[in-house]
């Protein structure tokens, strides 16, 4: 569908442009003052929703604070504009900054919360602000609010209400929409997709999910603040209503109805929801009832919102054209010479889950160019060990040293950036992302091309991503899976998925690669290919830790094998030594094991 939705998006552009032009002509030539007022409000809502798409759509966090940030922006403009008499050039930036600052402040304790706690915590922010606004009469005017908010006055020139204000607000929408689209596209859009669909996978390629969510939250708050400020200018009053939960509900509904990810969806959602009550006005008292029914119908019938339906129609009407082929290109030579003498040392690593001792003091060492097999019966602590080394879980005790530097306690993305890559037993790919994008995103992340500064200056357009896609294609071809580059990860059989994961890990150019059961579920032919790939990688200087049950796979491949049982190392040595070791045989066959040291 990736291809389809891209085609749909392209086909839709002229239609959307024509719609915008038609609406502009209507506003200029035919619209009544009431219609102009509605369009003004729709513009304000569109700006609010464009911001909300960043945190709710892209970052996938159900924030219920967008209405609060809107209200805060309105109050900042109201208080500074009416009481302090400051002009637009002062109040507007402050109306953006204060909500952003509040977002940054509350993000520290709340963003790490799970989704429902995050939703509640953000809801609480709005309630506290609302109660403050109602009761701090001296500043906020209490329940009556503030009247006499000035219009927009820039350098002594007042923007009159009506068409000029409408034009200003929609210019802001265009600017805000273009900025959001400029920043969140290409690789950054993909990074958010991976973060939503597989947070573990995102951390594994070195993406700092917390930071991405924080940026989205702060940015969404400034959009809300801007919308609130413009709302105060348009209505000329600010009352506690701007902080009420209905503002948040409307924003959420607009986002879901228009579409969560596309700027055009935000605009459509805002226009629709401002208009629906007008169309159902003939129902008189029942028009809000009809509004609720429409909302329910749209959420059930249009999972991706109105824009999703339009895009799909656009994609169908236009025969599916494949994207231009990606030109494969070899990756640039790494700046530092391939590591030939790196070491990964694990000392006394221990971890408990409740009463279960998953690891009880394990020592391991891995060198560049070495393939270390890690075996042991189910529950012996193999995956726990991989999780601790890669920062997915925190160790209770012990040290993990990368070339002598302690890395235990670093977050997963930090460890990935230091050159320890991994694959997951259950897989950690984004099902709806194409294979090529999956690997290209890792290339992009590895080269630190995913920074906000770069996004702001250069955007994340196709050109910025071209190099990474070419290098990803090269990598896929070298692993003989170039033919699946266009497929979505979710469509692939288990064997292919596992090889995509390995390709993604390699795209990071790691010093060490930890593979959790790379041969599980593969047919003989695939297993042989994976083994060949791994042997070739080791000969190029990569250090490999391979967790595996499949002894015929591991025996010819591994240089050394370590056997775990109940969280302890019970044997280590060459594959031949391990195969003869009575303790290993006992652990696997379940006969009474000799007392482990």
């Amino acid at each position: 569908m990736k291809r389809g939705s891209d085609a749909g998006r392209g086909a839709l552009a002229p239609l959307l442009a024509a719609g915008a032009l038609g609406l502009a002509l209507y506003a200029l030539l035919f619209a009544s003052p009431y219609a102009i007022r509605l369009l003004t409000l729709a513009g304000i809502d569109a700006l609010l929703v464009i911001g909300y798409q960043l945190i709710f759509g892209h970052a996938g966090a159900l924030s219920l604070a967008q209405g609060a940030f809107f209200g805060l922006g309105a109050y900042v403009t109201g208080i500074l504009g009416s009481a302090a008499g400051l002009g637009f050039l002062v109040t507007f930036p402050l109306s953006l900054l204060l909500p952003a600052a509040l977002a940054a402040l509350v993000a520290v304790p709340t963003l790490r919360l799970q989704s429902h706690y995050f939703a509640l915590a953000t809801l609480g922010i709005g309630q506290v602000l609302l109660l403050g606004a109602r009761n701090w009469d001296a500043v906020t005017g209490g329940a009556n609010g503030l009247a006499g908010v000035p219009g927009v006055i820039v350098l002594g020139i007042a923007v009159p209400a009506g068409l000029p204000l409408l034009a200003l607000i929609w210019a802001m929408v265009a600017l805000g929409g273009a900025l959001a689209r400029h920043v969140v596209r290409g690789p950054l859009e993909l990074a958010f997709l991976l973060l939503r669909e597989s947070p573990l996978g995102a951390a594994a390629i070195g993406l700092d999910g917390g930071r991405l969510r924080l940026l989205a939250f702060v940015a969404s708050a400034s959009y809300a603040g801007a919308a609130g400020a413009l709302g105060a200018h348009a209505l000329r009053v600010v009352s506690p209503d701007v902080l009420g939960f209905p503002v948040m509900v409307t924003c959420l509904a607009m986002t879901v109805i228009g579409g969560r990810l596309r700027v055009a969806g935000a605009v459509l959602g805002a226009l629709l929801l401002v208009s629906i009550p007008e169309w159902t006005r003939f129902l008189e008292g029942a028009y809000l009832l009809a509004y609720g029914l429409a909302l329910l119908a749209i959420i059930i019938l249009m999972p991706e919102g109105v824009i999703g339906v339009l895009e799909r129609a656009g994609a169908v009407s236009r025969s599916e054209r494949p994207l231009p082929p990606v030109r494969s290109r070899p990756p640039p030579q790494p700046a530092k010479a391939a590591c030939s003498e790196c070491r990964l040392d694990i000392r006394g690593l221990a971890k408990r889950y409740g009463g279960v001792e998953a690891l009880a003091g394990v020592d391991l060492a891995l060198k560049s160019g070495e393939i270390l097999g890690l075996i042991g019966p189910n529950g012996s602590g193999k995956t726990t060990l991989v999780n601790l080394v890669t920062g997915v879980d925190a160790a209770d005790a012990g040290a993990i040293l990368l070339d002598g530097a302690a890395i235990a306690g670093l977050p997963a993305h930090g460890i990935a950036r230091r050159g320890i890559a991994r694959s997951f037993q259950a897989g950690a790919l984004s099902p709806s992302m194409s294979v090529l994008d999956t690997v290209a995103l890792a290339r992009q992340a590895a080269e630190r091309r995913l920074t906000l500064g770069r996004a702001l200056v250069a955007g994340h357009g196709r050109r910025a991503f071209e190099a990474a896609r070419g290098e990803a294609m090269h990598l896929l071809e070298s692993m003989k899976i170039g033919d699946i580059a266009d497929r979505r990860c979710g469509e692939l059989a288990a064997g292919l998925r596992r090889r995509v994961e390995i390709a993604r890990a390699l795209a990071l150019r790691p010093r060490f690669l930890l593979l959790d059961e790379p041969a599980a579920g593969l047919v003989t032919e695939e297993r042989r290919r994976v083994a060949d790939d791994l042997a070739a990688l080791a000969s190029e200087g990569l250090g490999l830790l391979v967790v595996e049950h499949d002894m015929p796979f591991l025996m010819p491949l591994a240089h050394r094998i370590v056997c775990l049982d109940r969280g302890r190392v019970i044997a280590s040595g060459t594959p031949a030594e391990i195969a003869r070791d009575p303790r290993v045989v006992a652990a696997y066959l379940g006969t009474a094991a000799p007392a482990a040291g």
């Binding site: 159900l62 429902h116 509900v249 609720g292």
Partner: protein, 290 residues
Amino acid sequence: MLALQLLVNAVALGAAYALVALGFVLVLNATGAVNFAQGDMVMAGGYAAVVLAGSLPVPGLVLLPLVLLLTAAFGVVFSLIAYFPLRARPPAAVFISTIATGIILQNGANLLFGAEPRAAPALLGGGILRLGAFVLPRQSLAIIAVAAVLGLAQHWLLRRTQFGRALRATAQDREMARAVGVRVDRMIAASFALATTLAGAAGFLLANQFFVTPTSGSDLILKAYIAVTIGGWGSLAGAVLGAMLIALFEVGVSAVLSYEAAMAALYAVLLALLWLRPQGLIGEAARARA
């Protein structure tokens, strides 16, 4: 003396909140979805009692089973509209569909009954009960009694019956429950029915002292949400405890300062709690999102 009366009021309020929160947790456990219309179900229960009382001149205690039956049926319909079409979607979709249902209920009630507050009949007649030196409102005592009976009945249902076992199995692991022959869809619909029944009972009980208006559910859902968070997301006992704590806090702070101050303080405490103990007060083994 005053302190005891306040305490009885607080416990009565907490008991009503607990019914709402229990229903919230039941749906949460069965589906993983947040039912934001749970507060509006309370409102619906309140109006159901008002309407029934208008046509049947019987004591409140007789009306109660009728209200429970009506709201149970309503819960099944609710699940068919707002949950089952969206079950394969991300949880936010159900969150929004329940918000939409709430909008429909509120505006439907506004159309039918208007915005002015209505009162449901008292359960055992109004007035006060004198116990020696103590003066206690009858309805508060009735609320506590009914909530306790319903709470215990629910506990018995979940713990001691085959139906309850199937319900808990569904909540724990849907796929496994299906594999061992539990009719998962029916269990989910039953969870919704139970949830709205508890909400309906709360609505009936609250609509006497506190009246019912089309928007009276909005406040309750926030309190239920907070109660469930404090009590550890997904814990039934925790939800009851959380509801009691909120009511004590609300009544206590309101008595000294004001209701508004009580609410502001409640949210402030909640934010602090989430900061210090992201797993809730009682503690679900919730992991922060890494």
